[in-house]
Symmetry: C2
Subunit: 402 residues, 2 copies
């Protein structure tokens, strides 16, 4: 496993800034800019919501047009620029044009991301001001950039990996906003490695599947979810180090994704749901994410309640073929994907088993615990990371306007 750090000292060839433009009424940082000295090979993964925010549509079109060439990425928080029609598209394009003009590149090489309330148009005066401020501030300000993309996140999310093959660094933001509208996830990962556009897309898509695509906060898919991966090519690509890049990227993406779950709106528990023995991986993922999305399961997590019946019942409505008589369920402390020696068998072959309620309660009273569901002897397995549904989640998402 590659060693992943919390702090990003610097990444050769990238300069970043996080500034305050006044979009957030609090005066907090709300605009991040990442500029690469050289054109990057770039790739993205985007929300599958049919209702896509303007920046998502703009980025997808630009990546198609350029074949994946990027010089800069701008990210604002405080306004999602979603459901904003043609004016929203114009504003996203104008943001990119302003930056392209400053750094001297094609506007097609500048991508944009937004997160915040759905509906309002981007306040372009603030954006223009932000571009000027950010251009002047460019440097190794990764933490400021990570702070500038936060909404209801309580802490910035950074990940850094560096070895003799490559440096890979990323920032992300998770669930919620100051004006919460969607649990939007944004991520931006850069490397100094000489990957081409196909590599960046392949490696990102692969890493994304078991990291950003394997976390559940509340099951709501955002209009804005975006993860970008930029490779500036300063260090030559070495085919024999291929697995190195893949592992490093996976490590960075995983660290950011798990940070999002740990800092999810109102979350007090970090829960690993591991499903094994399903007919195939997608079936296992469907079961794990149905369990992770169930309000009854999540409120039980919050209540320190080893309520395994809710987990079995959620599995049963996941829409995939499972024989309940072949299902077993373990709970376990910490993060376990296969039941270890300290795992507790709760249910086996369609029936409850005798177990200590005190032990079961002790496990789910911890900050981090796991449930491992074995569905049969199929080859499918999947892991989903999730959190509880707490009073604070309801407050954060209900009380904003009151």
């Amino acid at each position: 496993m590659p060693k992943i750090q919390d702090h990003i000292p610097s990444v050769d060839g990238f300069r970043v800034a996080g500034v305050a433009t006044g979009i957030k009424k609090s005066g907090d940082l709300d605009f991040a800019l990442i500029v690469s000295d050289a054109p990057c090979a770039a790739a993205g993964v985007f929300t599958r919501n049919l209702v896509k925010a303007a920046p998502v549509l703009v980025d997808q079109a630009k990546l198609r047009k350029t074949g994946g060439v990027v010089r800069a990425v701008a990210v604002n928080s405080g306004c999602a620029n979603a459901c904003t029609g043609q004016q929203g598209m114009d504003n996203a394009n104008e943001t990119a044009r302003l930056i392209a003009e400053k750094i001297g590149c094609s506007e097609d090489e500048v991508l944009v991301m937004s997160t915040g309330v759905i509906g309002p148009q981007l306040p372009m005066d603030n954006i223009k001001h932000g571009v000027d401020l950010a251009i002047d501030a460019l440097g190794d300000h990764w933490e400021a950039a990570a702070r500038a993309i936060m909404t209801t996140d309580t802490r910035p999310k950074l990940a850094y990996h560096s070895d003799d093959a490559a440096t890979i660094a990323g920032i992300a933001k998770g669930a919620g906003m100051i004006a919460p509208d969607m649990a939007t996830m944004l991520g931006l990962i850069v490397t100094d490695s000489q990957l081409n556009a196909t590599h960046t897309q392949d490696y990102l898509s692969q890493a994304n599947q078991t990291t950003f695509n394997s976390i559940v906060v509340d099951g709501d898919m955002s209009t804005n979810d975006t993860v970008l991966f930029l490779a500036n090519g300063l260090r030559p690509f070495a085919m024999e180090k291929r697995q190195h890049y893949i592992d490093g990227l996976h490590g960075v993406a995983r660290k950011l994704a798990l940070d999002i779950v740990r800092d999810a709106e109102g979350a007090s528990k970090f829960v690993t749901i591991s499903v094994r023995g399903a007919t195939d991986n997608p079936a296992a993922h469907k079961i794990a994410s149905t369990i992770a999305t169930s309000p009854l399961v999540k409120t039980a997590f919050f209540g320190d309640d080893a309520n395994w019946g809710r987990i079995i019942a959620a599995m049963g409505r996941a829409g995939v073929d499972v024989d309940p008589m072949r299902v077993s369920l373990h709970s376990a402390p910490g993060e376990q994907t296969v039941p270890g020696d300290d795992a507790l068998l709760l249910f086996d072959g369609g029936q409850p088993v005798a177990y200590s309620e005190a032990v079961a309660t002790a496990i789910v009273s911890e900050d981090a615990f796991s449930y491992v569901i074995t569905c049969g002897d199929g080859p499918g397995h999947a892991i989903v990371y999730t959190c509880d549904l707490s009073h604070d989640y309801v407050s954060i998402n209900a009380d904003y306007r009151t």
Copy 2:
């Protein structure tokens, strides 16, 4: 629209009781028995969860075996008899056998329903005692029966319709339990009409689609959901009154279903989601139920927040084909399925429209309001009734064991 009452005076040929057996530690009523003097034509609709409680499996097998002949139905609360293996099946069958012995019929003609915590075995001593008590108490005790099937319901749910064609009466229970495990829904509807088994199944399935199957509390599908319909045949069937029976049954089922939403765990709002212009009815239902299940939408309901962006975003992830540029959204006071004169247009043709935030907030601050989504000009429409996600929902489902 047939007139539906809250109170059930009596239904010819049916005797009912609700008694306390001690399954509920509170000493509240927890066992209901409904006995028909004559064999009834009967039908049922059941949970589609792959994990089915023992009473669901037992009832389905008996209805298949008899072709739909029923003399009695027993319902216990406080224990779901779900995930209980062979012993659970034996206990469900034994409950039916005890009743059949008392009233002198085949045990295949006695159905059983259970609701409560998942996992524990039925306490058969309490059940035996309950059968004795209930047999002795049989009469017109519909309200006691409705109370005996309650879990976290705060009030009994009854519906009654009588005219010159038929009497139709029903009881139901909704979301949650004293030991909450699932938002189980149970319903039992009886009539004195001479419907045959095919009629009862057709009419019930039809009524169920737009009533019990069109309500959402939290999106969790129970292991125990069951609605039964019994017709004792005392009044002759008149083909020319066919629509009368259908409307009466629909009215009774609708009243019970809406009572369940109004009394859902922690609910403070009654919200109608009407989707029109979809490609077909299932697509419309998928959109409406995705919106009704979204935690972000439901917390906004709770927070009196006219947060239409969350509704549009939930529509976009419903998994059905929609062109966001053709979507319009209205909010409206009370229960509206087509926007009336007092409806407020919030979003039109992919863009927000100018509207009064004060009016929008006033609408969603009421106890009952509606959202009407028009997706295009297709023939598909569906209505789903739902509630908010409140602090009390979290408390009820988290705090039981603490």
